[in-house]
Point group: C2
Chain length 225, copies 2
């Protein structure tokens, strides 16, 4: 690792007073502060920090697929993390509702947190409906171009509704949930996603492999021997 002296660390010692030993260390210094960079962390983890941004209707399989991709990568000893409703809506974004402004802020914060994880060298996955193109483009704009992988989790509405894993479509049809994506609120599919997977036509394994193949092809993770 490159070691460079920072002005701050010298200031630190310069103002270390009433301590002869520390003063002495300042002159015989063998230890300088270096900044651990994103490249250092990536070298350690043998991968590139990046965001895999899953988008699609409720019930399309975003979380399931993100967890499947995470499993494949973890088996190859990569460091990964999945951001989803469970850990974000009840935590960081607990003070946000579902108004247009709050939805936008929800996605903005997820984008910013993804950026922090990317900077940490982690392969971070986000599994949110994220129905609006503009919001997804805002997230993309935060991240280096080759580190943002938009995955369109495609699945016909009727299949999602038939699955209705969380019982939300039933409630939306009964009018108990207002502005439900696909029923009473729009979903804007990506125009140029890096990867598209159709979860009504491919198995979970096939979908997950397709995502991992893209990461390999773009050198975000090394190709498995």
């Amino acid at each position: 690792m490159m070691v460079k002296v920072r002005a701050e660390s010298l200031n630190f010692l310069k103002f270390t007073r009433n301590n002869r030993l520390a003063q002495q260390k300042a002159t015989n210094i063998t230890w300088h502060q270096a900044i651990v960079t994103v490249q250092d962390r990536e070298a350690l983890l043998n991968q590139k920090g990046c965001v895999i941004w899953f988008t699609g209707l409720s019930g399309s399989g975003k979380s399931t697929l993100a967890n499947a991709v995470e499993q494949l990568l973890h088996q190859r000893k990569h460091h990964t993390y999945v951001l989803d409703g469970d850990n974000v809506r009840h935590g960081l974004n607990r003070n946000l509702g579902f108004s247009p402004a709050d939805r936008e802020e929800n996605i903005r914060r997820i984008g910013e947190v993804s950026k922090l994880f990317t900077d940490a060298g982690t392969v971070v996955m986000t599994a949110f409906i994220s129905p609006y193109r503009a919001d997804r483009e805002q997230a993309r704009a935060l991240i280096a171009e080759d580190r943002f992988v938009e995955v369109f989790v495609e699945c016909p509405l009727d299949v999602c509704e038939e699955r209705d894993t969380k019982g939300l479509y039933k409630k939306a049809r009964a009018g108990e949930i207002k502005e439900f994506t696909g029923i009473s609120a729009p979903y804007e599919p990506p125009l140029h996603p890096e990867v598209t997977v159709n979860t009504a036509e491919l198995s979970l394994e096939e979908c997950a492999q397709k995502v991992v193949s893209f990461l390999e092809k773009t050198d975000l993770v090394p190709t498995e021997n």
Copy 2:
């Protein structure tokens, strides 16, 4: 890694329609979805996810010390990340000012993001003045008891003011910055911090080693041979 079948992955296949191949795979399934847990990630990284929460006056050396601790841990091949004003105030928290409510929300979000990094298995460090005990306690309450390490970066006000690395004390004394911690706003020192380091008396290396020794003692990172 333990492999357990999740209901969701079965639903995924159950509703995979119009695709005989996928149906067939569902019966001959050899691949089941498992969730990668925090324990799995920690085993991979050979460490425990935790927060090292540095608190102290402006100029006390929080960021410098956090970077020094990060360097020591990185040399031992640990995965670390530092949250500080540079990457948080200009990103996730760019829409917050310095009103009491915004200061509280600032620390709340930092606590929530730290929790996500802890769950990812990372040793995450936060370097913010975080002057109020109540806010720090709120952050602590989010994290498992043995995973929150509060480090009081102690340094007399006059030494911080003499350092004045960012020129902020001068501006605060001139009245150009209002409610500046230590000058015109209170700093509440921790009552029971896990670690206290006095940066006016110890060298940067000694301070950093003291923090790392605590991590070793509490088994958050393995002791170096």
